[in-house]
């Protein structure tokens, strides 16, 4: 009886270690801002298998601060990667792409045609949480509006979502009339969502920066991946999804 239990234990541990061996081919863990999903999902990287993990840039940075060690971190701003670099958690960040903040509305039956409409009674707005770049950019736009309009717009904000996916989802389900997202998000959701541009003087500077995470056990592959996104197939995939060169 005891012998059989021992055999079972041995078989199990052999099986587990076999799993460990087979997964030792080059796998690159990339933590990226949710808005990059349409582009990175289609980017083919030749030198390693890439595992993508998407969330708000702030949450990904918090995971790294709490001890998570992806190989590459890509944020929808430059502040978060630079802060992590100052803390020694990532190496010097590299600008990858630029994007633009737009007002997104449903394609059909939109009640909002521009920023001024955001202050109308009964208009429902979703924006990002203050800590996630897409929310901080939206706040910077709203902050520049006239005091009266700003107050009414803020009163119409019905949800502060953790990332762009939440904003797009609320729009697509008719839960809100408008939301601030990136142009590329509106484009990826294009049959149902339409993007409205606003005055250039209100436009925040949206830059994506990537950094190799300190302590990665495959620094070369990680650097190659970032390089590929700057100029390579990855860069082509970014352009094809509407991201502009940095």
């Amino acid at each position: 009886m005891r012998a059989r239990a021992l055999m079972l234990a041995l078989t199990l541990s052999a099986g587990l270690s076999a799993c460990g061996e087979s997964s030792r081919e080059a796998v690159l863990d990339v933590s990226a801002a949710t808005s990059l999903k349409p582009a990175l999902d289609h980017a083919r990287f030749q030198h390693a298998r890439v595992r993508l993990s998407f969330a708000g840039s702030d949450v990904l940075a918090a995971q790294i601060r709490a001890g998570a060690r992806p190989d590459v971190y890509i944020a929808a701003n430059s502040e978060l990667p630079r802060a992590l670099a100052r803390e020694g958690l990532v190496q010097t960040p590299v600008p990858l792409a630029r994007n633009e903040l737009v007002l997104a509305v449903p394609r059909d039956g939109a009640r909002v045609a521009g920023l001024a409409d955001l202050g109308r009674d009964g208009v429902r707005i979703a924006i990002g949480a203050r800590s996630v770049p897409v929310g901080a950019y939206a706040d910077s736009v709203i902050d520049q509006l006239d005091a009266g309009l700003r107050r009414r717009v803020l009163a119409n904000v019905r949800s502060r979502e953790p990332d762009v996916a939440g904003i797009i989802g609320k729009l697509a389900h008719g839960a809100v009339d408008a939301g601030f997202v990136y142009r590329t998000d509106a484009r990826a959701a294009s049959p149902r969502i339409r993007a409205i541009s606003f005055a250039a003087r209100l436009q925040p500077r949206v830059v994506y920066e990537a950094a190799v995470v300190t302590g990665t056990d495959q620094p070369r592959a990680a650097r190659a991946y970032v390089g590929d996104l700057v100029r390579g197939r990855g860069a082509q995939a970014l352009r094809a999804s509407g991201f502009r060169p940095p």
């Binding site: 979502e161 939440g166 809100v176």
Partner: protein, 264 residues
Amino acid sequence: MTRPSAFTLVSMAALMLTLTFLALPIVAIFTDVAPRDLIASLDDPAALDALRLSLLTSGLALSIIVLVGTPAAWLLATRRFRGRALATTLVELPLVVPPAAAGIGLLAAFGPLGVVGSQLDAAGIRLVLETAGVVAALTFVASPFYLRQAQAGFAAVDPRLLDASRTLGASELMTFLRVGVPASRAALSAGAALAWGRALGEFGATLLFAGSLRGVTQTAPLAIYERFGTDFTGALALSAVLVLLAATILVAVRLATPEADAER
């Protein structure tokens, strides 16, 4: 003294492993940051708003669950009817449905474009992105925890007791109130505690269906997620409060109904 069998030893090791694995994250919430810092970071109006909203919405959800769920569970437990097995399964379904799927489902049903939601909208009733929507999400995910326990509790009541009550001329309502409910008190309160705990912790369905707005729909779990990005200590502090609250609920039910242990 007899030597324990190999299987007993394995079981003991398994129990130790289980307890360690389950307790470690809970303990870590309290040991990762000094208690003083935890308390200090709770002194934040946004955190207090989130806790207040969590208590309000979970309390409302629990009231709805108990008021509607108790007679429903009574019927499921005491009557044989066509489709009863199907009904029991349906009641348990939210236990295994992923909360994100529940949120999408609620949107599809009660959202402005949804089957029922468009009618409600026309009548001026809105759930999406409103406090009422949080209550709906919590009710959806938490009700099976109560219904299961209530159904099992009612089913375990000696049928002769119920028959005696009916033979003595008591109405079905009286039998339910005077015999069924008191005899199942332990199961009902255990179920209510579990449902309340689940409602307090709800995250995915709430975020997708009700969104996240301070004071309106941002419950404590949503506030934890929002703080995680900027204020890890603050996120830990709120987590600690929720853990303490959940533990208090469980312990209170254990103390109030000691027979609950014996019954199982």
